[in-house]
């Protein structure tokens, strides 16, 4: 039995947000899903919703996912953040590792979302 959690999905693609939301609902119908379409919006959303997990796209208009993740890491050091991105380059994986955040590659699948949520399920 797990308690209700809040997951913040940050992605400029509405379709990707929709798919991630759908898979989270399948796995945990009672969990709350918040969405942001840009890095800037994710900062505002995180301050208002205090998420338990943040899933962050990289290639977005504006400040982009890496800069947003860096700022969120400083403001919410206890909240797990994972990149969820099509950018499969080693340089991006290494950047995520150096920042102490996770890395999962797109496309979004139920198995990948389950892998991301697993870290919260035991808490």
């Amino acid at each position: 039995m797990t308690t209700t959690k809040t997951v913040l999905i940050v992605d400029d693609s509405r379709v990707s947000r929709m798919m991630a939301r759908q898979y989270i609902a399948v796995l945990h119908a009672d969990w709350i899903v918040e969405e942001a379409g840009t890095g800037e919006e994710s900062l505002v959303k995180a301050r208002h919703t205090t998420p338990d997990l943040i899933l962050m796209d990289v290639n977005m208009p504006g400040m982009g996912g890496i800069a947003a993740a860096e700022q969120l890491r400083q403001e919410f050091p206890a909240v797990p953040i994972s990149l969820l991105t099509a950018n499969v380059q080693t340089a991006t994986r290494e950047r995520a590792s150096a920042m102490g955040i996770g890395f999962v590659e797109k496309p979004i699948t139920e198995a990948r979302i389950a892998q991301l949520l697993a870290t919260l399920e035991a808490v």
């Binding site: 693609s13 991105t85 950018n87 499969v88 496309p107």
Partner: protein, 208 residues
């Protein structure tokens, strides 16, 4: 004239084979079906010739939906993923499943195709970057509709540009969908790519 030695050409095909394999794996996860891709045929041809090869169906210029992304770094290129326009909605349906109503599906078609292009192109180009041990910075995906010539023009390639054309057939078990990937490089970028290929060959031979 741009030439590659036999060894450079072999390495280029091998590198793109790996990149395309990754893109096929991504495509399969998107459409939730087994996807087979043909071995890519690679050629360096003028833009006008590329447009002719890409967009002909029974001698008639075919309408194409394309997603392009600009990459800068070890070599600069415009990568373009193209599908026949009439297959676009079918691909989006395979991606999001049957639960989404047709009206909503139509509304999100362009955005969904951009995301599919983003995933497939980054999967392929990201793999190339990893093989070259260099980083390539990609732009946001752009959506285009038109003939292949119109799309190649819209993506900024000049009339006399050289196109590194990578032709791939996507074979889905239930859906016969043909897609194409093209990489547009100018002469300077082609020489940068050749340099990266030679570094890769040198590493493979233990010389670096």
């Amino acid at each position: 004239m741009f030439n590659l030695t036999e060894l450079e050409n072999d390495a280029l095909i091998e590198i793109f084979n790996i990149g395309v394999g990754q893109a096929a794996s991504s495509m399969s996860a998107i459409v939730k079906e087994a996807v087979r891709m043909s071995v890519p045929s690679i050629s360096f041809i003028p833009r006008t010739e590329a447009a002719r090869l890409l967009g002909q169906a029974d001698g008639v210029a075919e309408r194409i939906c394309g997603v392009s992304q600009r990459y800068r770094g070890a070599f600069d290129t415009e990568a373009i993923l193209m599908f026949p326009e009439d297959k676009s909605l079918e691909i989006v349906r395979l991606m999001v499943g049957e639960a989404v109503p047709l009206k909503e599906l139509t509304e999100m078609e362009q955005e969904a195709m951009c995301e599919i292009g983003n995933i497939m192109l980054n999967s392929c180009v990201g793999t190339l970057a990893n093989i070259f041990q260099r980083e390539l910075q990609g732009s946001l995906p752009q959506y285009h509709i038109g003939t292949s010539d119109e799309i190649l023009t819209a993506t900024g390639s000049q009339f006399n540009s050289v196109v590194l054309m990578l032709h791939i057939d996507f074979l889905l078990e239930k859906h016969q969908i043909h897609g194409y990937v093209a990489f547009v490089l100018d002469i300077s970028a082609l020489h940068d790519l050749k340099e990266q290929i030679n570094l890769y060959i040198a590493r493979a031979m233990g010389k670096v």
